[in-house]
């Protein structure tokens, strides 16, 4: 790679900043991040590119990729675009697991039909090494790390489907603290030869499956079986089975159901045995139970929420109401309207809670 690659990137980043300058964000941390990315870009723009060593060319290429990627997520996290209520819930969940206030949950709205994922390109190691480099070279610092979550644009206000974002947040926590990795290392210590018959690809598959189980259980703490309901919706039973990256849906559903029912669960114990020595919270139920038969939704009004536990429970309530909507208080509405009403009530329930909290603190 020569410095001409950076020249092209600089033009791309310049164009991206000119479009993003007018962005209005939902909080000051995002604005701060934008300003810090811009400062980095300005410093890089000043250097004599042809004088860079091949190693420095690659470093700066990666720095500009970091800036571009950050801008992409910030552009999708403006006040007009960000699924604000969803992110509010995720931020509350994150607070249970991370004391550090220097994380920002940002979203990217995908045009793909069902694309929910966590971007893992810029993990803590990359972030620390980036900061070390730019502090040394440019006396700059990036204060906050982005937790980058992608969701389908068409589903950004679909709270029943987007409860799966808790699963993506679970991936972040797992990767941040290397939880699944620690389990695999316990099972296959590096100093001991792999058992005969076990291939490295088998271990990799087991690792990937463990990641999924953790994310499912993490989500279930907050949204109960909401992710199960979504998975059932998108899985074709005849084609269900383990893949290289994911356990079968049937296995995933069973583990979440057992967790919610309080049944003994070996994998839950394994996770908690890793979490505890790391001074991390245990995986446990962190939501209330909202009974759909007596919920405020029955009156076509938002649910009154008093605690974060009740807030997270709104997603399960929404699914319960939706599943029975042909026979419950929504039965006289058309199907499309029923779904719309439930999503509206979820949104307003969350909004009322967050507004009331902010008002009380102001």
């Amino acid at each position: 790679m020569d410095y001409s690659a950076i020249q092209l990137q600089l033009r791309q980043v310049d164009e991206a900043f000119s479009r993003s300058r007018i962005n209005v964000y939902s909080d000051t941390k995002k604005k701060c991040h934008f300003n810090e990315l811009h400062s980095l870009f300005v410093e890089i723009s000043k250097i004599e590119l042809s004088a860079l060593s091949p190693g420095d060319v690659e470093i700066h290429y990666n720095l500009l990729s970091f800036v571009l990627n950050g801008l992409e997520y910030l552009d999708n996290s403006t006040l007009n675009v960000i699924p604000y209520e969803l992110v509010s819930c995720l931020e509350l969940a994150l607070n249970d697991w991370i004391d550090d206030d220097n994380f920002i949950i940002v979203t990217s709205l995908s045009n793909k039909h069902i694309e929910y994922l966590l971007s893992t390109n810029f993990n803590s190691e990359t972030f620390l090494s980036t900061n070390r480099y730019i502090q040394g070279k440019y006396n700059l610092k990036i204060t906050n790390r982005l937790i980058r979550i992608t969701l389908p644009k068409s589903l950004s206000r679909d709270y029943l489907s987007s409860a799966v974002l808790y699963h993506e947040l679970g991936h972040f926590i797992d990767l941040e603290y290397n939880i699944s990795q620690k389990i695999l290392l316990k099972k296959y210590p590096p100093h001991i030869p792999i058992p005969i018959g076990v291939l490295p690809s088998d271990i990799n598959k087991e690792y990937r499956h463990t990641l999924e189980f953790f994310a499912d259980l993490f989500a279930a703490q907050y949204v109960n079986q909401s992710t199960n309901f979504f998975l059932q919706r998108i899985t074709t039973p005849s084609r269900d089975g383990d893949s290289e990256t994911h356990p079968s849906t049937a296995k995933r559903l069973q583990i979440v159901n057992d967790f919610i029912d309080g049944k003994p669960l070996e994998i839950l114990d394994e996770f908690n045995h890793v979490l505890s020595p790391s001074s991390l919270p245990a995986l446990k139920v962190r939501h209330s139970n909202l009974d759909p038969k007596i919920s405020d939704f029955k009156n076509l009004t938002p649910q009154k929420l008093k605690t974060p536990q009740e807030l997270h429970a709104i997603f399960k309530l929404a699914w319960d109401v939706w599943i029975d909507s042909e026979t419950n208080f929504l039965k006289d509405f058309e199907e499309k309207e029923r779904y719309h009403i439930i999503n509206n009530l979820v949104e307003k329930s969350i909004s009322n809670y967050t507004i009331q909290e902010k008002w009380n603190k102001a």
């Binding site: 009156n299 009004t301 509206n344 009322n352 008002w359």
Partner: protein, 206 residues
């Protein structure tokens, strides 16, 4: 001054408003400040979501046609959001739609008449909205700036006053198909979905 209270019909005054709210027969949430409830009205706040009219390549908003040959009515509006406490500019002659911050549910024998609080009506803003008995949702408000000056308003400001009136008979709100159910953000007009339009066009073409 004695309060105006009626049993079967008429303007509902504070004591009865409080009673209806306490029994959750009249639902207003979030009610951030109890002083919003006045002697004969309840102040409602500007919400966080806005639709602002914009001029595009089409010469007019077509309320007569709902097929794909014309631009949808919502295409004549741009969406934006504000944090609570953040300002919004309403330019001279501009129409904006916003929702009340409060989600409302009215009893089936109560309707609401929304108007501007006098502090705002005297600077050139216009609004008048009626909410049907049994309505549930955030009220969609159409606000027009008829002054020759841009006006800055805050999301969350107590812009509106709602007077509630009792009527003798219950009206079943969902007794007929409604276009706007449990809305929580402003929704642009669905005038071109009126059932009568097809008949009117047929009439004209015959």
């Amino acid at each position: 001054m004695s309060e105006i209270t009626t049993k079967d019909s008429g303007l509902i005054a504070k004591s009865e408003l409080l009673d209806l709210i306490q029994k959750e027969e009249l639902y207003i949430s979030p009610l951030l400040d109890v002083t919003q409830i006045g002697a004969i009205s309840v102040d409602l706040r500007v919400g966080t979501d806005f639709l602002a009219s914009k001029q595009g390549r089409d010469e007019y908003i077509d309320t007569t046609n709902n097929d794909t040959s014309t631009r949808p009515i919502k295409g004549h509006f741009s969406e934006s959001r504000r944090r609570l406490g953040e300002s919004f500019l309403l330019h001279s002659g501009q129409v904006i739609l916003f929702s009340t911050l409060e989600y409302l549910k009215l009893p089936e024998n109560v309707y609401a008449d929304l108007s501007l609080r006098s502090s705002y009506s005297r600077i050139g803003l216009n609004l008048s909205t009626l909410i049907q008995p049994g309505y549930c949702g955030c009220a969609s408000i159409e606000l027009v700036n008829s002054s020759n000056t841009t006006i800055k308003i805050l999301s969350g400001a107590r812009l509106i006053q709602a007077r509630f009136y009792k009527i003798p008979d219950n009206q079943e709100y969902f007794g007929k198909k409604r276009k706007y159910n449990c809305q929580v953000r402003p929704v642009s007009s669905k005038a071109n979905e009126d059932n009568d339009l097809t008949k009117l066009i047929r009439l004209n073409n015959s």
